[in-house]
Amino acid sequence: MKDLRLERDVQTETNKIEARKVQVYYGTNHALKDVDVDILDKTVTAFIGPSGCGKSTFLRCLNRMNDTVASAKVQGAITLDGEDIYDARVDPVQLRAKIGMVFQKPNPFPKSIYDNVAYGPKIHGLTRTKAELDEVVEACLRKAALWNEVKDRLQSPGTGLSGGQQQRLCIARAIATSPEVLLMDEPCSALDPIATAQVEELIDELRSQFSVVIVTHSMQQAARVSQRTAFFHLGNLVEYGETGAIFTNPKDPRTESYITGRIG
């Protein structure tokens, strides 16, 4: 386990994702109000906040997973490298290959470990030969710190792994399409502390190649893994800034109440 590392450098200042005036409605329920966020490249950004505050909703806007919810309506602008992802010309399928996602509950396909990782590259035609595909699978499993545990049983079902291994398999699956951004929706909430530590270490390593956005309930986790933190409350983005500043010197009284445990 790593200590709370509140002081750390952000390696880049380029914006990967820019969100402006994002509104989300579920039917008549105004779930997200006027959210402006700039997510930096090669940085871990954490979204924290009490349940129902809209942090998961916002995360699902970033790769248009909200499209699958019939009643959801998204307004405002979200750009990835300057291109509006809600533009009519954008195919969400292509977008999701660029912005991978890891879910709260480990959800490997009921197929072999190999097929789980190989599925993304296969459907996007990223590899030409079986040998190339084998390489991609091995590289992704190595990056997800799972290779040594599963290299002898790549053909056994992914659902037979332990919870922590399943979640790392899902991470390997998500990075197999070489995304530019990796979204993680409470990836450790179903894991025990040891598996959580492994996944957190992994997130820190992934930062060198991807922009990682993580939603978490645990403030300690946000403090441990992220460089930037956004605090959501009741559908509003209350405060966004460097993780150290948010936790040591919050500007908004609501943020302070939350991180000191008085609300939430």
């Binding site: 019939a70 290959a97 991978g100 879910f103 009921p110 459907i123 699956r173």
Partner: protein, 455 residues
């Protein structure tokens, strides 16, 4: 002082009553509850026992009445195929020989039987040659004629011919006909039955497994011994093939569209309600639809398996769609999220992940739907499949348009006939139908086990 003690007195709110009794003796309420549970268990047990008794009774009655249909009494005699009788012109041309009717062959068989009886030294008493011919099925002459016409070289030779015994003689050995009933019967007589006993003793007549019951076509009212299920089984198989080829893809496609792609609005709600209602529509209504649409409007032939198959497809569709949709609904949304999350399209998500996981449910629904269609009678009556069909339908696909019968219709048909020999036939056909259903349900279970996966 007294005032002070008054204020300290306990509050007037009553404490909830405690259960104050030993744990070893049940109180009144517990005893009543236990008695209620015991009664409920007893009623359940009684219901199960009644159901089991009904099942045992059903199986016993069907098997005791139907199993004899698979065995038949045969007479085995050498028949001399006299060329002077069967081919008067002497050219050996099958076209000319076809002019000799079964009457000519019947005479030959009668002569052969008389000769065989004489050779075995059996006393026939006052029986005439006509009585002797009556021992053998009327169908035997037709069988012999078919055999000669198929192979004209047999002319002039003596062949070993296995003829079906008359239905009454057969019934005597199966216990259906007794000496008393034979005395009142125009079609047989106690003398014939006694002769039959002697023939069995001499080894000319015996009872054995009758494959003809499964492969021969239906026979006329007077010849229950010759009636078989051949045409009905082929007709049923053709119809099942049509239903499977149409109902499975259409049903699965409709379910996938409704479940995964269609917007949820008033129209899809309406469609959903209607599919549920269609599954409950009496099957005879589909028969009327088939009659008016497929036969009267589209001009398809009557009695044809294609029409039966189309009608049964309409009937089976909702019964496939409902379990298929349920199976699709049961696939956890996390699998869809996972597939969409790595950038699979909606269709890829369905075909790669959702449909394979729903497959056990889809297959079970399909096979149960097919099994119901296999046993369906009413709609087939309305589209003319109840006709007497002796000719086998041709090979697919043109054979689908030839007249044929179907298993349940054949059963219905045989129960309508006068000769008691057909009761046995009908029960035998029910056994065949049950065997088909058991095979299909077993297949459903095996497929479900095989594709079952945990997630």
């Amino acid at each position: 002082m007294t005032d002070g003690s008054m204020t300290l007195a306990p509050m007037a709110t009553p404490e909830p009553a405690r259960l104050r009794h030993s744990l070893f003796a049940p109180d009144k309420r517990t005893a009543a509850r236990n008695a209620q549970e015991a009664r409920f268990r007893f009623y359940g047990l009684v219901a199960i026992v009644i159901a089991l008794l009904a099942l045992v009774w059903l199986l016993f009655s069907i098997f005791s009445a139907g199993l004899p249909a698979f065995r038949q009494t045969f007479v085995e005699i050498p028949v001399t195929l006299d060329a002077a009788v069967l081919d008067k012109a002497g050219h050996g041309d099958p076209a000319e020989m076809a002019s000799v009717t079964t009457i000519g062959y019947g005479k030959l068989i009668g002569k052969a039987l008389a000769a065989e009886i004489e050779a075995k030294g059996i006393d026939i008493g006052a029986m005439t040659p006509k009585d002797l011919v009556g021992m053998i099925s009327e169908n035997a002459a037709a069988d012999l004629r078919d055999r000669v016409l198929a192979d004209p070289k047999l002319l002039g030779t003596t062949v070993q011919f296995t003829a079906l015994a008359n239905g009454r003689i057969d019934g005597y050995f199966k216990g259906r006909v007794t000496m008393e009933s034979a005395a009142r019967d125009n079609n047989t007589s106690p003398e014939k039955l006694m002769l039959a006993d002697k023939l069995v003793a001499a080894g000319v007549m015996d009872m054995r497994f009758n494959p003809g019951f499964l492969v021969m076509p239906d026979a006329s009212d007077k010849r229950p011994e010759a009636a078989g299920l051949g045409v009905a089984i082929i007709g049923s198989l053709y119809m099942m093939a049509v239903v499977l080829c149409l109902a499975l893809p259409i049903g699965v496609a409709a379910s996938v569209y409704l479940e995964e792609f269609a917007p949820k609005n008033r129209w899809t709600d309406l469609i959903e309600v209607n599919i549920a209602n269609l599954a409950a529509v009496p099957s005879i209504v589909y028969g009327i639809l088939g009659l008016s649409f497929f036969i009267n409007f589209a001009g398809l032939p009557q009695s044809a398996p294609i029409v039966g198959g189309l009608v049964l497809t309409l009937m089976t569709l909702p019964r496939i769609i409902i379990p298929t949709r349920a199976a699709l609904k049961a696939v956890p949304p996390s699998i869809r999220d996972a597939a969409l999350g790595v950038g699979a399209s909606k269709l890829q998500t369905v075909t790669h992940h959702v449909l394979p996981l729903a497959m056990p449910g889809v297959l079970t629904g399909t096979i149960i739907g097919l099994a119901q269609a296999l046993g369906e009678t009413a709609p087939l009556l309305l589209i003319g499949m109840v006709a007497f069909v002796r000719d086998f339908p041709g090979a697919p696909l043109s054979g689908l348009f030839d007249p044929a019968s179907a298993l349940p219709v054949q059963i219905y048909n045989w129960t309508q006939r006068g000769d008691p020999g057909f009761v046995e036939r009908a029960s035998g056909a029910i056994i065949v139908l049950l065997v088909f259903l058991i095979i299909m349900n077993t297949a459903a279970i095996i497929l479900r086990r095989r594709y079952e996966r945990r997630w």
